[in-house]
């Protein structure tokens, strides 16, 4: 399979997680350990085996494109950390 070293800073960046130096050290070691265990899967002959994403029957679920009742706007917005009128407020994304 793959080597047991993980570029933990890179993975944390992909995961949008700020990590402390201590966490980088601890999680890096623990992930290396875990990957050492999961590498056992390399023993299985899976060359001609299909992948399973869902075990039970799955089918496309469609419905008519019609208006239905939905959650009240105010109730949903009440959970927002910051809002401005009808919008979620976030720090500036596009610079001037």
């Amino acid at each position: 399979m793959t080597s047991d070293t993980v570029d933990i800073r890179y993975v944390a960046k992909l995961a949008r997680l700020a990590l402390t130096d201590d966490e980088i050290e601890v999680f890096g070691r623990q992930l290396g350990d875990l990957l050492g265990h999961v590498n056992a899967l390399a023993d299985l002959d899976t060359a001609s085996v299909p992948a399973t994403a869902q075990v039970v029957e799955s089918r496309n679920v469609l419905r008519d494109d019609a208006l239905r009742p939905c959650l009240d706007h105010e109730i949903v917005m009440a959970g927002a950390p910051q809002r401005q009128g009808a919008f979620f407020r976030v720090p500036r994304i596009i610079s001037e």
């Binding site: 995961a15 623990q30 390399a42 994403a53 959970g79």
Partner: protein, 497 residues
């Protein structure tokens, strides 16, 4: 009728009593809230006690009973795991990131329980985002095992399990991704039942690993589990993975013996590895199945040993994707930053605990470019092999019996290495990966080293997809003949602490 005799009843008995007007739902609710008040200081099952919601629902139930409605769960107090939404109440997932979040709608499974007459006593503690096997990963509270407060209740549905074991509810709603209903069931002397994947709607269950998550009941009897399942199961258009086929009532099909049934004992699950005492108890459990008329069949699950490795790629991969939604924008915690990227990074760093971070990192790595085929796809192929193992085994038997966990409830802090905690779900993960219905039923008592008293252990029974009726029926026959759960009471007399 005294408070004590009300809360000591099974869910089936409570519902019958309320239907026949022997006691009102309000009386049952008040008795249960008094019990919560008396024991919560020691047990800590609930993150939020819903006294007002419970009283108001109980009054509605009493009115419906007076109007002649025949409610299967009339007045039955329930504990709802805090990863399930109940409109207008705090729903935290045991996480700081959702510590103050109020659910804007109600999960289908919860709504169906309430429609059937159940009364929600509180939102129960759990490992953060249901990731854990001891409840120790909750960021918001400690839950103790009612049979020994020095020990964990199991997890991740540990609060729901402890609440039912301590008579703070008659039914606990839990969710099982790799064993999170069955293991706490075993640790707390309960029946913990995970139905077939897709049988109970996941709408309103905050997602951990969507291809595995399944809601089910924790109860003090098999009959109660069946009644709860019959009430909450069935197709729901709000969950695209919900199974659209008729639900067979299970509570009316409980068996008294196992005549004509073939029960598989898994060759690879050698109970000798669990030590002499547990080995003897599981052998006795298998012999009891035989005594009840079952034929024991030797079956093989050659890939089951790879279950934990498979699970710890698939579940973290799905969790890393599902938990991406917690970014400080639309709900939950936000930690401010100069730009949006810093805000995301800091919010998630402050909001998630160590186990959640670990799993997000594992999953992100397993899904990242260059590793996807080696980890995620390979795990999905291993999942196919595990499901095929069960298909082959079920050609030779009707049910499979095994331990539910490799040990009784352990002491707080005794599994500090993440992988040793992951191994707690060794026996329950393969069934989860294959989507099978499975349950844990009390099968005796064993005294772990250093324990003051014997702790409960569980027998796991698993069935083919959709064979819930057979599974619950057989578990009932075993429970009725052995009555292990009744041997001891929780260690809470005079509790208030």
């Amino acid at each position: 009728m005294t408070d004590e005799s009300l809360i000591g009843k099974s869910a089936a008995e409570i519902a019958q009593t309320v239907r026949e007007r022997g006691a009102s739902a309000v009386e049952v609710t008040e008795a249960t809230l008094a019990r919560v008040d008396a024991v919560e200081g020691v047990v800590g099952s609930y993150l939020t006690v819903l006294s007002d919601v419970a009283r108001s629902q109980a009054a509605k139930v009493d009115e419906r009973v007076r109007n002649g409605e025949r409610l299967p769960l009339a007045g039955v107090p329930i504990a709802v795991k805090d990863n399930m939404c109940l409109e207008g109440t705090r729903t935290t997932c045991g996480s700081k990131i959702l510590e103050d979040w109020i659910a804007p709608y109600t999960a289908t499974a919860v709504a169906r329980m309430l429609e059937a007459g159940a009364v929600p006593i509180g939102k129960a503690n759990c490992d953060e985002f249901a990731m854990g096997s001891s409840c120790e990963n909750s960021a918001l509270g400690v839950t103790r095992n009612p049979y020994d407060p020095a020990r964990v209740p199991g997890g991740s549905s540990g609060g729901s399990a402890a609440a039912v074991a301590a008579y703070e509810a008659a039914i606990g709603l839990g969710s099982d991704t790799g064993g999170s209903i069955r293991e706490p069931g075993a640790f707390c002397n309960l029946v913990g039942f995970k139905p077939t994947y897709g049988r109970v709607s996941r709408y309103g269950l905050i997602a951990f690993a969507s291809s595995l998550d399944q809601i089910g009941p924790l109860t003090r009897s098999v009959e109660d589990a069946a009644i709860a399942y019959d009430a909450m199961g069935g197709y729901d258009p709000m969950d695209a993975t919900s199974i659209d086929r008729p639900l067979e009532a299970t509570a009316t099909g409980l068996l008294d013996d196992l005549k004509g049934m073939r029960i598989g004992v898994v060759r690879e699950f050698d109970t000798k590895a669990l030590g002499a005492d547990l080995d003897a108890r599981y052998r006795l459990a298998y012999a009891d199945l035989e005594r009840l008329g079952a034929e024991l069949v030797d079956v093989s699950l050659p890939t089951a040993d790879y279950g934990v490795a498979t699970y710890y790629l698939i579940a973290p991969a799905e969790c890393s994707s599902n938990l991406a939604r917690f970014d400080g924008v639309r709900y939950g915690l936000r930690v401010e930053g100069d730009d949006v990227r810093v805000m995301y990074d800091k919010t998630r760093a402050a909001g998630f605990g160590p186990e959640v971070k670990r799993r997000i990192l594992i999953g992100t790595h397993a899904l990242s470019s260059g590793y996807y085929d080696a980890y995620y796809v390979r795990a999905q192929k291993a999942r196919t092999l595990i499901a095929r193992d069960f298909d082959r085994a079920f050609e030779r038997c009707d049910l499979i019996a095994s331990p539910a966990a490799s040990c009784p409830a352990f002491e707080f802090g005794s599994k500090s290495d993440p992988y040793s905690m992951y191994l707690m779900d060794y026996y329950t993960i393969p069934m989860a990966l294959a989507g099978l219905p499975a349950l844990s039923v009390p099968c005796g008592w064993s005294t772990p080293e250093g324990a003051k008293a014997p702790m409960p252990i569980g027998l796991q029974l698993a069935a083919p997809l959709f064979a819930e009726k057979l599974l619950l029926g057989a578990a009932h026959a075993y429970e009725r003949a052995t009555r292990h759960a009744l041997a001891r009471k929780p260690a809470l007399e005079g509790a208030r602490a």
